[in-house]
Subunit: 464 residues, 2 copies
């Protein structure tokens, strides 16, 4: 490993760059930053710092770059592919003390924030403006983490991903340079789109210390639907037909019967245990939404829907979507003594029913418990599989299954990760997915971070 | 100038790489590729080639890179900032023989096309599918040119720019390498977003030889509105309020009275000569659109609107938008013996009324004829100013005015180019707009094109 571990001299130096109470090499702090929400094995950093300004981040990076010390940005540790696990040691930059809203520019539909701000807190602060920041990965993710992973969620099918809401970034480069990129106008054709290079780069090209985000109007009204189906495949077919019809649902989620069962047990939802679609429409008009729901009902019925319950009130809808957001946690609670492998592939719309069928057959063959749920409207499939911790048989089966499922997604023209990022777990698929363009990514990485100190061991397959 | 001019030996070599009937160094061919639709002075290339395959493009680039010969891609020459003018000579790659639709993947809402395809021809071919490619720069632009410039137009306020519709690109790099980037799933968080680096790079990072585009459903219905106002400023205020209200018009165009006068003379539209908004709504329901138009009417009236004509039929709406698309040409025809400077700045929404007022005062002060029109919903202002060809007084006044108007846009947090690209004319503003991040752009340019053969003299201020 070519990286420098933090000895006492380095620790003293870094402590001097930041207030001593915002530096820790204590075991408990390091262990709290050793793992994210994924099944990937933990690895503690050598130290954790809590910067308060871009300048502090700049000084730490300049020092780390000089001495070859790994630097990993940390939001809330809610990622699902080991993205911020400091696998090569070094220093974690925890942004929880840079969590302020710096400016709400209501008249521009924009907000300027620090990276440690949690997106739910942003939307709470915006609630009186009639504006909101739509991407919703579910967990209490920070804006910095969401940008680094191009996070998305249940509303992405209508509102887009994090990448669609970033106008301007302040980034600290590996050598400590502070650079501002992008602008504040709604559109621009001026030069290269650097924002999009940093978005989704998982902290490997620079550290985001400030972001100007585009906001959008809170919908006047919404309407939620639950539809059940005789099979996951028929529900998948309905998803495809809904998309093809030109309807624009604001959420289009597919849940396997095993997920519904969990909802009933753990959230007391009292739903029919069947493959189910959660659908939501946002709009300015009740008449319009009623029309959309009629078309939606027709399509669902044509695809064998057994129950179609429309017009849910806000309270019931909120309970449904809360349960949906908590599903990952529910699965963990349902399997004590197990680790949960979280899959995340996406395929083109027409391949979605085929993909979901393939994944279910794989689970059935494995004899393990798996949960199929997905941002179906985006062709984005999640699959959580429980394996006993330390049971090597289980994990061999799971590893082989992951390989087959991801390769199936790639062969259908899809991606190894729809929204969780490459992190540690998807590195091995990068060459198959990207071919020669992976070389271009590497060259950009080497250009921006020649010593490779920024989040080493992620994205690129040959990294340590 | 460090570039190699094409001598007879080079011409023989390049002719051998391509069928001889698809190579020309004849004066008329070269002159046809010496200028775009802008006021920038023409400059002929040394030769023009018409490639038919990615492999031919690859071979030409490999040769040009070895010998330091400039290469400029050419779509239809409809750009407005000198973007494809071969200011350093070299070879033009004219893509008019690579203009095929390779695959319509209707079930995926995708299409695979060659770069020389004109977007109107694409939409014509798609007309029976219920799908279309929304960006509409107006002129008969090619998909390759639209991607290279991140083109947008009247519908961008609702549907987005070209960058929002590109899923996958096949690109030939400066050294001849053929690389495929991006994928076919609706979303992905796998690695760096290379697509967005090439989109809007104006042919300076690589040559696009194939694109997979996302399509969207043709709206069920539409409704157009014309509203007149006592002043351009009050119309600008209405634009801002319409955006703020959460209405989602599919077009929101502001036209100065001078443009309306031209429409009446040249297109016989019989409109009231006043500052005017063209507004269009797309939707699946007449009831919904009627509701939106009611809100829109209220906002316009609150801002002093004198006439508000809603519910125009398709024929009248098509005539309006055709006239709007032809406006640039109408202005040219109205000023024989003049060159037309075309301005294109964009500012954040709240700054739009101020920006438009500033621009109009500048025109008034200059004593010249100017036309204000804009994709107002995006804060994107166009300003065409007629100056007599060869009248140095006129052009001194115009140059100084451009400087003040662009600097005003930048000081309001805007951009020097909303949609026309940097080309030749906006290079001098790059440093003011981008600051230190311009250095990052240069480093990427040097990484991908170390000899600088790809469209030299564009984007970067210090280029030849």
């Amino acid at each position: 490993m070519p990286f420098t571990r933090l000895d006492e001299k380095h620790k003293r130096s870094i402590r001097k760059l930041i207030s001593p109470d915002r530096f820790s090499d204590g075991e408990s702090h390091c262990n709290l930053h050793a793992r994210d929400q994924s099944f990937h094995p933990p690895c503690p950093p050598d130290a954790v710092v809590w910067p308060k300004t871009a300048e502090e981040v700049s000084q730490i990076l300049a020092y780390a770059n000089t001495h070859g010390i790994p630097i990993v940005g940390w939001g809330s540790g809610s990622s699902l592919e080991g993205n911020p696990i400091p696998v090569c040691g070094g220093v974690i930059l925890d942004f929880s003390e840079m969590n302020q809203i710096l400016d709400i520019r209501e008249a521009d539909f924009q907000v300027v924030v620090q990276p440690g701000l949690v997106y739910q807190d942003l939307n709470h602060a915006l609630r009186h403006t009639g504006l909101f920041f739509p991407p919703d990965p579910g967990a209490r993710a920070t804006i910095g983490g969401m940008i680094a992973n191009n996070a998305s969620g249940t509303r992405t099918v209508y509102y887009g991903s994090t990448k669609d809401y970033v106008l301007r970034l302040k980034v600290v480069m590996a050598n400590g340079d502070i650079v501002e990129i992008g602008g504040r106008s709604a559109k621009s054709s001026s030069g290269y789109n650097l924002n999009q290079l940093f978005i989704g780069s998982e902290g490997t090209l620079g550290i985001i210390v400030e972001a100007t985000l585009r906001l959008t109007g809170t919908p006047e009204d919404f309407s939620a639907v639950i539809a059940t189906f005789p099979s996951v495949e028929s529900a998948g077919k309905a998803v495809f037909e809904i998309r093809r019809s030109g309807l624009s649902p604001a959420a289009l989620e597919l849940l396997g019967p095993e997920c519904i069962e969990l909802f009933n047990i753990q959230a007391d939802l009292g739903l029919t245990v069947s493959p189910t679609l959660f659908i939501e429409f946002h709009g300015a008009s009740k008449a319009y939404m009623a029309e959309m729901i009629d078309i939606c009902r027709m399509i669902c019925e044509e695809n064998g829907s057994e129950q179609f319950e429309a017009g849910l009130g806000r309270q019931e809808r909120d309970r449904l979507f809360e349960a949906r957001h908590d599903l990952g946690e529910m699965i963990v609670r349902n399997h004590p003594g197990c680790a949960i492998l979280v899959m995340d592939v996406a395929v083109p719309p027409s391949a979605y029913p085929e993909m979901i069928g393939f994944a279910r057959r794989e689970i059935a063959k494995s004899g393990l418990t798996g949960y199929v749920f997905s941002h179906a409207g985006d062709g984005n499939l999640h699959l959580n599989i429980a394996g006993e911790t330390g049971n090597t048989d289980h994990w061999q089966v799971i590893d082989a299954m992951v390989l087959r499922i991801v390769n199936n997604a790639l062969s259908l023209g899809g991606t190894a990760t729809g929204e969780h990022g490459v992190g540690i777990g998807k590195r091995k698929f990068m060459e198959a997915e990207h071919g020669r363009s992976l070389e271009l990514m590497k060259r950009i990485k080497n250009l921006f971070d020649p010593k490779g100190i920024l989040n080493p061991g992620k994205i690129f397959p040959e990294d340590p």
